[in-house]
Symmetry: C2
Amino acid sequence: MKQLTLVDIEALAVGAWILGTGGGGSPYHALLNLRRLYAEGERVSLMDPDDLRDDDLVAVVSVMGAPLVILERTVDSRLIARAVTAMEEHLMRKFKAVMAVEIGGGNGMQSLLAAAHLKIPVVDADAMGRAYPEAQMTSFAVGDLAPFPLTSIDPRGNEVVIGRVASWKWMERVSRKVCTEFGSIAATCKAPRTGAEVKKWGIPRTTTKAIKLGHAVTQARQRHADPIEAILEAESGVRLFSGKVTEVERRTTEGFLRGRTVIDGLGNDRGGRIEIDFQNEWVVVWRDGRPVVSTPDLICVLDTESGEAIGTETIRYGQRTTLIALPASEVFLSPRGLEHVGPRAFGYDIDFKSVFRS
Amino acid sequence: MKQLTLVDIEALAVGAWILGTGGGGSPYHALLNLRRLYAEGERVSLMDPDDLRDDDLVAVVSVMGAPLVILERTVDSRLIARAVTAMEEHLMRKFKAVMAVEIGGGNGMQSLLAAAHLKIPVVDADAMGRAYPEAQMTSFAVGDLAPFPLTSIDPRGNEVVIGRVASWKWMERVSRKVCTEFGSIAATCKAPRTGAEVKKWGIPRTTTKAIKLGHAVTQARQRHADPIEAILEAESGVRLFSGKVTEVERRTTEGFLRGRTVIDGLGNDRGGRIEIDFQNEWVVVWRDGRPVVSTPDLICVLDTESGEAIGTETIRYGQRTTLIALPASEVFLSPRGLEHVGPRAFGYDIDFKSVFRS
């Protein structure tokens, strides 16, 4: 168990946003909330998954919805804690710890907010190693763990428990409709996990990974080195394209933020053009009608100068950006993993070809 | 406490369908299920609301959704009982009895199915005295009783508990989206009511009323009298129009069955034409662009010969129909009642003018 410092948390905000692959929501509001809670004396402890007992119960949280809405409709940090206590009331059991369903974006920090309010630790793990838009796009779903129950909470006082579902897809369908009706944003506590399940199917130490990544970026900035080079080094990534954003189409539909963006090459990439499709997260990058990189490879669009991540809700005309890819968690590279998160899971009739195994 | 006979139940199917004002779902499948349960030896007892103790807990049930879907997608009668036991699990309390949220249509009989499976009595009361499409269109909502919790169940094994909502309208919004995602049909157990609440805000003895109405119709048929005249006598109704159905427009949208029908006059009404708008139930009848009769007056479209009710999902070209109106329950005639169920509650910019108080 390690107490996180405010420096760790500032680094986590930077690193989680990069791992968000465009989604997971901007971490900015969660960071502001955590700064306030730390100023009030609260502290969050990080727990290694191996320190969980098999029968410990872990709350798995996220703010669900369309990132554009999450950016605009700020939410009291207590709401995510309420999703957890609503689940405790439903189960009539207390949680030992809380973890993020996705380390990417603001959702990599929501678990810390819940933990601070509930005074329990955060498990150093998640179920995506990045961010993904849908309920069945987790290592827990790949592991065929129970998809239910789920609590979904909105700030008006609406509270829904999805007690049982026929499948992970049904959990996605029903919870998405509830979230959409709440205004495309909801604080959720997903299916509780035992310590044994987290140890077997969780993606371990992704909070630590995000913090290290954030530190690498800020340290590179401090010594006037290239922050993007620092990211590639830290995560064994590859640089794919640099250019200027020339088009953004964005629509908030069915509880998601969907659209595409066009980036025209600059420097070595002058004359080239890429298009990126997104559903909350960057999904497929196209060049001349052919896929360049696709999920589950992590597609990260970064500010070329600062290395700061750019989200699907914050990308805008004129930004100078660099596209990089980082390797996916092993669990998603199996045939079964690809069924959950490969390009076909997003409706693209293309095979996954990793940029790391060509 | 009175045990209902199969003859009572056959009469209830006829009477509830008339009181359904076009909605509540065809009672046919519920009747078949009850015949089967009675053949297997099950019996249902009817309990007068005055026999409830103040702190008894009553389950309030209905099949929610679009009547056209309810007609096509037959549901195991145990599903409505499961909605009740899911609520018992949520509350950690047992129900003393079950009651219909609406006496109209199939929903006037779903409470009997739940009661037969759970072996508890049915309370002789409902919260509408007819059928209405939305959650806040009940005497309980007019009485400002708590709108939550609600359980919503589908045959695939999906089960949702709406634990809290900000208002009755929010209960309608959230539960409707869940129902729509289930395929526009869901078995629901609404907010539980205490005996005291049922006695104060329930509409009493509507099961008995529907059974008597059904008996009046079948007896008139047996003595070759006019069944419609028998209905008007039994319920102090008025005959408004007779004719042939010449147009039906119907669409299943947002969990409702919406549309309009046109009836061209025959006999004394030859040359006349009325149009009826519906949202699950008949809402407003128009003649020459002016409202003739509107909710909360009960608008009933009957087969001219048999007196059998015609539903918004079963009305079709060529049917010979007679339009009658029956008086509404007193609770809906107050300004507050009309806010919940008057024409403006359905989006019509017209004042309610009862055909019984002109």
